[in-house]
Subunit: 312 residues, 2 copies
């Protein structure tokens, strides 16, 4: 079974042609998400046509086009329902119609965090595990849960997709979602520069010399002995660990998968969260295993087949 797959992250878009759990061709573009989705759709079309042509395939060789989107979406209508500062024009775009016009094949839309979990469940770190939570640490923090091998959903579009918006510190920072002190507001790519800016003594850290503080610089400088970077890194680890315990308490998973770009520092992140979860979560069935996503940036792309097969 083949499909076209588009993974719309907060700042990068990955496109692929997949066959079951394999990626036949892939490409990635940086996008200015503030500029909106409409202006990049023609770019998607060009890239997809090129990939298909390179593979000697036509669009109709694919069962459909699956898109993972960093927003709340309505699976049943293929509409983006609510965005959070990224591709805000998407709610006004008829994506199924776009897909029909450009490729003539069915369109499947899902939240990007759910797509990543579907991918990991189908072909990665959650294979064979039916009660599982996935957290994707990135510009925002995505979250998705599966119980009994089915994605957790409710009729409300947000049902089970806003794991990053679990509270961790109600005296904390205003979140873009409207709430206060969400895990994402305290330790995600977008909030990190704000956290760093206010950190006491930040002027003594190399972080004050970078244009935009990101997880890469925080983890790198921390490794190199920058005490402020290390303190900020440790607070991020703490916030993620607290959020993970909360998600474990809420969803009762057997395993938690952690993905996202910052997982290039998985050697620091996974042991910290695993130890915190062992110490601080209430799980009489046994300590929940914390594992890195194994498909890296391909997880969302590989959610395409389980999404389009109609079972999810």
């Amino acid at each position: 079974m083949k499909a076209i797959s588009i993974d719309m992250g907060g700042s990068h878009v990955k496109l692929a042609v997949v066959e079951n759990a394999s990626i036949l061709a892939t490409d990635e573009i940086s996008v200015d998400y503030g500029a909106g989705l409409r202006s990049v759709l023609p770019v998607f079309k060009t890239i997809i046509d090129k990939m298909l042509s390179h593979l000697g395939m036509r669009p109709e060789d694919c069962v459909g086009l699956a898109m993972g989107f960093c927003a709340m979406v309505d699976r049943t209508t293929g509409k983006v329902v609510s965005t959070n500062g990224k591709f805000d024009d998407a709610t006004g775009i008829d994506l199924p119609a776009w897909c029909q016009t450009e490729f003539g094949i069915p369109f499947g839309l899902e939240n990007d965090a759910r797509m990543a979990l579907l991918g990991e469940w189908y072909a990665g770190a959650a294979k064979g595990v039916d009660d599982v939570v996935m957290i994707t640490l990135g510009t925002g923090i995505g979250g998705a849960a599966m119980a009994g091998g089915k994605l957790f959903r409710t009729k409300q579009v947000q049902g089970g997709t806003v794991g990053g918006h679990i509270p961790v510190l109600f005296t904390g920072r205003q979140c873009t979602c409207g709430a206060v002190g969400c895990m994402e507001a305290e330790a995600a790519g977008w909030s990190l520069p704000l956290v760093a800016k206010e950190w006491p003594g930040i002027e003594h850290s190399r972080l004050s010399t970078v244009e935009r503080v990101d997880f890469r610089s925080v983890f790198e400088f921390a490794r190199e002995g920058d005490a402020i970077a290390a303190a900020i890194r440790d607070r991020c680890l703490h916030v993620w660990a607290v959020g993970t315990v909360g998600l474990i308490h809420m969803y009762g998973p057997e395993r938690v998968i952690i993905g996202g770009g910052v997982m290039r520092s998985a050697d620091v992140i996974i042991p910290y969260i695993q130890e915190y979860v062992r110490k601080f979560s209430w799980t009489p069935s046994g300590t929940v295993l914390i594992v890195p996503a194994s498909l890296g940036n391909d997880a969302g792309l590989l959610g395409a087949i389980p999404l389009l097969d109609g079972l999810h």
Copy 2:
């Protein structure tokens, strides 16, 4: 359909004979939960026999005995798996065997928060609502969720039953569950005296004159103009509201039901949480309705029939 129903709260036990959504007979006893469950089982037997006899019924007229228990339980085996300082001997008691010996009928065991939700869904404030979360504010804070008309469960016993242990303040108070800053650790019956004790200026409040600070005294003194009591009440309201937003983000319900003894002050609690949820939760499908449990202390008792009917 008739059943025997026992609702084991943190400090009170309610017993009843129910017929569908009606309570035919009921009784309530105070128990010292520290003294354990084994010593009160004979009391249960006496009370149940008396109720049945009064109704002219025999145990075998009932489809079973349903028990809601303030702990993590294994529905499939009828065993209490993990307690949290209440009836700690229960994990070593074979309750199905006790029920068989004393009454000769099937035994159904469920977490008390799930039982209360089942009751409200079957006969109360959640009737006809299939995506719903219930929070029970009491000695602890119970939580349960239903999605698509089914109780949220996973294979792990804690799956979806520990809503009170959603984090709200990771710099906060040690919780009895092992985590830090859970909603329950910040604003439940057991933690309230600890919060009050450390409150700046508590010696100027009437709360310093009561033997044990409870929600009744906090809400009553606050109404009467005690500024410290009002401040403590407001912090409890804030904590519950934050936790409610978190539960909404996690479970995507259409409605949140709030129950528990403190709901005698529902006139203060419901509007506060409703307004906070309206302002601070991310729910593009529309503001989630916050409603008081309508069955009061009978909710758990009325979960008996849906529990025993085999569909949940």
